[in-house]
């Protein structure tokens, strides 16, 4: 009778290594999905002061979207692709010459300086949401373009990148404190004044 001898066991010593290798691979490659979007602040219900604030017409950049998605910018029909440029030109127009870093044309009929410039966005009730988002995106883009330019000049990096790093909770607090002042400074150079009035009914 032949001796019963089982086949030798497969050496499983390296199995753990393979498992860890796979684990690390998946850990590195999977990203937990985070939502992203356009951050906006709504105006408070009651104005903080009783008396009406008087804003000169030339400091307001009106953008109207009708129900067909057409744009009326400062009473002229405009293509959506030109909006960013028009908004940028308006913001850094610098009519009163108080803004040293602006490169605007100093057109007396346009905004005095970036801190006074207000963009007013109005839309119809039947405007499509996607059109509205595109317009919002272009207006925010105009602000970001200007801020990026100044940030490049002062700190040799993009404002949007600095802000994202500042808002990221994983950034060490020492770097965050340092960024806070820089971000604040750029924001004050071109404060975002985007007013969204209630939609017109007709």
């Amino acid at each position: 009778m032949p001796r019963r001898k089982a086949a030798p066991e497969v050496n499983a010593g390296s199995m753990a290594d393979i498992a860890f290798l796979l684990l690390i691979f998946f850990l590195v490659t999977t990203t937990i999905e985070t939502d992203a979007g356009l951050d906006r602040m709504l105006p408070p219900m009651e104005p903080p002061t009783d008396q009406d604030v008087i804003i000169r017409q030339k400091n307001i950049f009106t953008v109207n979207i009708n129900k067909n998605g057409q744009l009326l910018v400062e009473d002229n029909l405009m293509n959506l692709k030109d909006l960013r440029k028009a908004a940028t030109a308006f913001l850094e127009n610098n009519a009163d010459g108080s803004c040293s870093y602006c490169k605007g044309k100093k057109d007396p009929a346009s905004s005095d300086n970036p801190t006074k410039a207000i963009i007013s966005l109005k839309n119809d009730r039947e405007t499509k949401y996607s059109t509205y988002i595109t317009v919002q995106n272009e207006l925010v883009g105009a602000y970001n373009d200007l801020r990026n330019r100044e940030a490049q000049k002062l700190y040799k990096q993009d404002f949007t990148k600095m802000e994202a790093e500042y808002l990221n909770p994983e950034t060490p607090s020492a770097i965050r404190d340092d960024l806070k002042d820089k971000v604040k400074r750029i924001q004050d150079m071109f404060p975002q004044k985007l007013s969204e009035a209630e939609t017109s009914t007709n």
Binding site: A6, L23, D35, R40, P44, E126, Y129, I133, T134, Q136
Partner: protein
């Protein structure tokens, strides 16, 4: 010759299960990291528009979601095909948004109640009228920080 024959009637050797725990742990870790808790299933169509100037919504515990869009196929018979608001797991009217925000805000810890963001996940084909009504409701309950959630991409793709 005997060497070759004796294998024949031998039992199958047991497969080593020593590494099974490793594999199980690996799977466990994998699923632990990729799973995100989803608290409501979508009942509306939700194709978000594209935008480039976006900011990430950090800290999920500080976000309240509002979904807007056309009801999906299975709900269209009951709710029609006009865009509706979805709060948590049910359809709602505009006037319920305020109470919903207040209820959600009350559920959060005290220190987070002032820093909440409302994420509006709106289908690109919705009309602004409904959004304007929601915005008005949000202003009434002083939930002023909103985020129009979008995909990252060229904003001009929205217009096609």
């Amino acid at each position: 010759m005997a060497k070759f024959t004796k294998k024949k009637d031998g039992d199958l050797p047991a497969v080593s299960t020593a590494s099974l725990p490793d594999i199980v742990f690996m799977l466990l870790f994998f699923f632990m990291t990729v799973t995100t808790m989803k608290d409501s299933s979508l009942m509306v169509e939700n194709t978000l528009p594209n935008a480039t100037e976006i900011k990430k919504l950090e800290k999920k515990d500080r976000v309240i979601y509002i979904y807007v869009g056309k009801p999906t196929q299975e709900y269209q018979k009951v709710f029609g095909s006009e865009p509706k608001i979805q709060l948590n797991d049910k359809f709602a009217n505009v006037d319920e948004v305020g109470t919903f925000i207040l209820a959600e805000r009350a559920k959060k810890p005290q220190e987070l109640q002032n820093v909440l963001t409302t994420a509006l996940k709106v289908d690109k084909n919705a009309n602004m009228g409904l959004i304007a009504d929601i915005k008005q409701e949000l202003r009434k309950v002083n939930a002023l920080k909103v985020n129009y959630t979008t995909y990252e991409g060229d904003a001009f793709n929205n217009l096609q």
